[in-house]
Structure formats: C-alpha cells, structure tokens
C-alpha cells in the first residue's frame, strides 16, 4: 500500500458507498481505495464506528431465558368442526332455493286450494249475515212494521196558513186574503 494519488481521495459520499458495498465504486475509485492508505483508514474507521453501535447493542441486550418447546400434538377435533363453513352455507342456500322455486318432481300438497275454498265459504257466510241484519224479520212481519211507521197527514189549508203566519207574504193582496180567512 502506498500514498499514491493522494490528491483525489474518496469523498464522503464515496466512503458511504464503499461502506454499503465496495463493488459499487467505479473501477478507478476502487483501485484507489485498494492502494491509498488514508482512504482505507477512513473507510475502516467509518465501518468501525457503525459496527461498534451494533456491538454495544449486543453487549447490553439480555439473553433469552425461556427455552423453546414445541407444543404437544393435540387430538383432532370432531369431523363436524373440520367441515368447511362455505360448504354448510352452500347447502343452506340450495335448500332455500328448492323451497322457493319448488321443482316439478316435488310432491305438491293441496293445502292452498283448501284454504281458497274456506275463504269463499267465509265470504258467502258474511254476505248472508249482512242480509239478515238488513232484513231481520220475515216477509209478513216486514209489512206490519211498515204500517206502524209514523204517518205524515198533509192538510193543505192549515199548512198554507201556518206558513203564511210564520213567514208573512210581502204581497198585500195575499195578506188581506189571509186576514179575511182568519175572520
């Protein structure tokens, strides 16, 4: 090693590059580093400073105190729990689809028709009840009930006088006629 080419020592950046990987230096600079005692010393000192941080950290770090043990082999859980969840979900979806769409091969029950029949019978019954409410009495009694209803007897004369007395006519002739009739 010599002190050749001392005018172009490695720069600060080149020293850092060399610290990362000396192979990343240009060929000429690499050659200089190999030959120059000062640059080699600078690089060694820089490397030492960084590595000493790691050495101090290792010196001050505690040692592991818990020995590693592999866990004991456990028994397999029952097959039900090993069944994938997506398979159970798929089965549920399939059952739901069959229930909703009801394929041809499935036996049809007549429950809906029976329910429709019952509804018709109920409507007929309600109509019959409504009729009985409207016409509660038999036909002969309905006539008698009509006779007892209040009768309005209309007497045209009294009626006209009463009206004139309550609401006098503004026509004078009419008023005179009414007075004469009263007398």
């Amino acid at each position: 090693m010599t002190t050749m080419n001392c005018t172009s020592h490695l720069t600060h950046d080149e020293l850092l590059t060399a610290l990362v990987d000396t192979e990343d230096l240009h060929a000429g600079r690499k050659e200089h580093l190999r030959a120059c005692a000062r640059c080699s010393h600078d690089l060694a000192q820089l490397t030492f400073r960084f590595t000493r941080m790691g050495q101090t950290a290792r010196k001050l770090a505690p040692a592991p105190s818990r020995p590693f043990r592999l866990p004991q082999r456990r028994e397999k859980p029952s097959a039900f729990f090993l069944r994938p969840v997506w398979l159970m979900g798929l089965t549920a979806a399939l059952l739901l689809a069959i229930t909703i769409w009801r394929p041809q091969w499935m036996p049809h029950t007549d429950v809906p028709f029976r329910m429709a029949y019952d509804a018709t019978a109920e409507r007929e019954l309600m109509a019959r009840i409504d009729e009985l409410v409207d016409d509660a009495l038999p036909k002969p009694y309905q006539q008698l009930s009509a006779v007892n209803a209040p009768v309005v007897i209309v007497n045209p004369m009294v009626d006209e006088d009463l009206i004139n007395w309550v609401v006098p006519s503004i026509d004078k002739n009419d008023a005179d006629k009414a007075e004469k009739r009263m007398l």
Partner: protein, 206 residues
C-alpha cells in the same frame, strides 16, 4: 478493524453444512434437529426482536412465536441455505404485527405508548442491576435519538445490517426486496445516521 473486515460486510457468511443438514432433517419432521436449529438461532432472533421492542417479555413471547411459525411452515422454505434470512423475515413481520397491535391498543387506551416509562419499569423487574440499567438506558436513548431521523425502511435496513449483522443478500431475502433497493436505503440511512451521531455525540460516547 481491517480493510478485509470492511470489505466482508456485504458477503453472507453462509450456513454451515451442519445447519443445512438440520434444516433438511427438520423438514422431514425431525423435532430434535429443529431444536438444534432453535439453540443456534434463538439468541440472535431474540436480540433482533429486543432491539425493536425494547421489552424483554415481548421479545421472549415473539421469539417463541417466530420459531413456532418456522416449524409450522418449514415446508415453505425454498432452500435450506436461506434458513437464517427466512427466520429474520418471520421475525420482521412479527415485530411489525406487534407494533401495529400496540398502536391499536393504545387507541382504545388498553396500553400506553409512552415507551420509555413502560420499558424501564419492565426492565427493572427483570434486570435490577443499576449499572447495567443506566448504561443500557443511556445507550438506547442515544440510539433512539439517531433512529428517529430515519424512515421506517431505512431504520429496518440499518438495524438489520449493523445490529443483526445480516449481509445485503440476507437483508434482501428477509425484506423481500431486491439488493439495489436495500443498498439505496442503507446508503441514505448511513448518511443520516452519521450526521445525527456526530450531533448527539454517540460516536464519542461509545
């Protein structure tokens, strides 16, 4: 420190043939071989998690979990040579999950995110040595001051490189990034850390 050491930074040390053999045996269901792997890698995985959680109890739990997951998914490991970086990938993911869980819990007030108070109290319970505790506290305060200037990716890359001593290739495997991306982040992290360490006096102190 020699130039040779500095140049070796990027090269993976490579697993021993013994390790590869144990990984192959563990993949075939040999629990003893897996326990041998645990004995070999547990300390560094524990430390890696401890650096990021700063809690011994959490580090213990998460380390157990990392190895349990490794055992469970050992068949997914592409090559036995990449076992170490694969373990670190699991650990990095578990630490991220842990931090995410803490953030969610802190939103609902279940845990406090006042990290210093929480960690110091816990440390006193498990490591009451005052001198060690003070040195540790002071060191991590300084490191925290530096790491806060880094982005999440830069911080992870920096810690994997200098705290966990992973090579560039192992870091790329552990973080599922290509090597040039890792190098870019590492370069930025080094520049920022150097400036911050000069300012807060960490390099003079340690």
């Amino acid at each position: 420190m020699t130039r040779a050491n500095a140049a070796d930074n990027t090269k993976p040390s490579g697993p021993s043939t013994e390790t590869v053999q144990w990984v192959e045996q563990a993949r075939q269901g040999d629990q003893t071989a897996f326990h041998r792997l645990v004995d070999r890698y547990q300390p560094e995985i524990f430390r890696m998690i401890y650096y990021r959680t700063r809690s011994r109890l959490d580090a213990e739990d998460l380390t157990q979990d990392v190895f349990l997951r490794a055992y469970k998914h050992l068949q997914r490991l592409e090559s036995a040579e990449g076992f170490r970086s694969w373990l670190f990938r699991i650990a990095v993911n578990r630490v991220h999950d842990h931090h995410r869980s803490l953030r969610v819990k802190s939103i609902f007030g279940i845990v406090s995110m006042d990290e210093e108070t929480f960690r110091e109290t816990e440390e006193m319970a498990v490591a009451p040595e005052a001198a060690d505790g003070m040195a540790r506290k002071e060191f991590w305060q300084q490191v925290n001051g530096i790491l806060t200037v880094l982005s999440r990716m830069e911080r992870e890359v920096f810690m994997l490189r200098f705290f966990d001593q992973l090579s560039i290739r192992e870091m790329a495997d552990a973080m599922k990034k290509n090597e040039s991306t890792i190098k870019t982040h590492l370069y930025r992290a080094l520049a920022k850390v150097k400036t911050a360490a000069m300012q807060n006096g960490l390099w003079e102190a340690t």
